[in-house]
Symmetry: C2
Subunit: 240 residues, 2 copies
């Protein structure tokens, strides 16, 4: 259900909502330019570990998409944001507990499916894409693999690694939409070989790896900017 | 020396030249829109093995660059084009003999240096970039590493492999300009790990790997198109 009327925040219109999914309360937000028209494409934004649905960089991505006429939607992942919260980036144990207490990968898939059901019905959105790095790919890759409505994805900073590494490898061959996959060549969190292995396993015929030097969180600004151009162009292209 | 007056070929103006470099005759060509103005940027195009300076795909790259106001220059590599010629793509032995008979990597560096000296003086060109895949990187990486005039490079489809693989690995740390490096994930000619190793060794702070599925020669059209946008934008950016 919408939490309140749409409100203007800066140059965006923000619509907050809460859903009850298998007993879990899942809070979310949709960003758009003021006018929303039927058929507008939408990108689902998966936040990174220890952040939340309104992390500053997600708002920036939403801004870049809005300028191209694309809506953006985000929800809090298990144990993040309004759903309790993991706040210590150095504690992988706490992260794993939060992920599993929130229901793990199957719950994540169900949460995003419910959110897309709700928003796509309410706002009559058109084609749908995914944007998510790190935990945004831990969530996003299984979601994309299991929801045919998603027709293009920006993934990365993740590999055959972490709380659901085996699950990611099992789901990757089922991803068949175009994918751009970002990785950081000197990633100190997810080992290089694990990232390459996950990219290699993605089933899509059209997939491109973009690798840049630097640590996990040092994705170059131009890659973020270009990623929104990539998604917007793909979502506006005529279907074959 | 220019071989003749500039001539119109399709929508491009073509200027052919021949240089004598350490006893070798090196033929080359410059493509431009009709008007050439002082300070125009230029990209050096390194052709692939068994092809030559006027290979169809190089002409296409020259076209894309010309539309952005960027000149393109190509010469025949050792044993290629008007310099005898390697015509059997399956015979790596013949390729290695041609490469070495043409003087090897040091001669390649000298040939391109002489060509850039000549054209940059004659046409008063501005900033310079490199575009070359496969043999175009066997030539280009040492050229870029040894010629400070080159300020951005598109490389790829090559690794710590082939006739000058050790030399490429030795020169790579000396490359310090921005680089985009293309590779094909299923390359049947240059092994994947060798490509990753060479990318990893390039010294540039700004370098980006783009990997796509497919065999050696199956670089997606969008990567070719985007590569010319990348070079043109970098060459027109204000220097710091």
């Amino acid at each position: 259900m919408w939490r309140s009327d749409p409100k203007n925040v800066g140059v965006l219109t923000e619509r907050e909502f809460d859903l009850l999914v298998d007993g879990r309360t899942v809070p979310g937000v949709v960003w758009a330019e003021e006018q929303v028209e039927p058929g507008q494409p939408m990108v689902l934004l998966g936040h990174g570990g220890t952040t939340h649905k309104k992390a500053e960089y997600l708002v920036q991505v939403a801004m870049l998409l809005a300028r191209r006429g694309v809506l953006a939607m985000a929800i809090d992942g298990p144990g993040h944001g309004e759903r309790a919260g993991v706040h210590d980036p150095s504690d992988l144990g706490a992260f794993e507990r939060a992920w599993n207490d929130g229901g793990g990968t199957d719950a994540v898939i169900a949460d995003w499916r419910a959110a897309l059901d709700f928003v796509s019905t309410e706002l009559e959105t058109g084609r749908t894409g995914w944007w998510g790095l790190s935990m945004g790919t831990m969530m996003g890759l299984p979601v994309v693999a299991n929801d045919d409505r998603i027709s293009v994805a920006l993934l990365g900073l993740m590999g055959s690694w972490g709380p659901n590494g085996d699950r990611l490898m099992a789901e990757a061959p089922n991803v068949d939409c175009p994918v751009r996959f970002l990785m950081q060549w000197d990633d100190e969190v997810v080992p290089r070989d694990r990232c390459l292995e996950l990219f290699s396993t993605i089933g899509s015929k059209r997939k491109t790896l973009h690798a840049n030097p630097g640590l996990h969180a040092a994705v170059p600004a131009f890659e973020i900017r270009d990623s929104t151009d990539y998604l917007a162009a793909a979502l506006k292209r005529r279907k074959d």
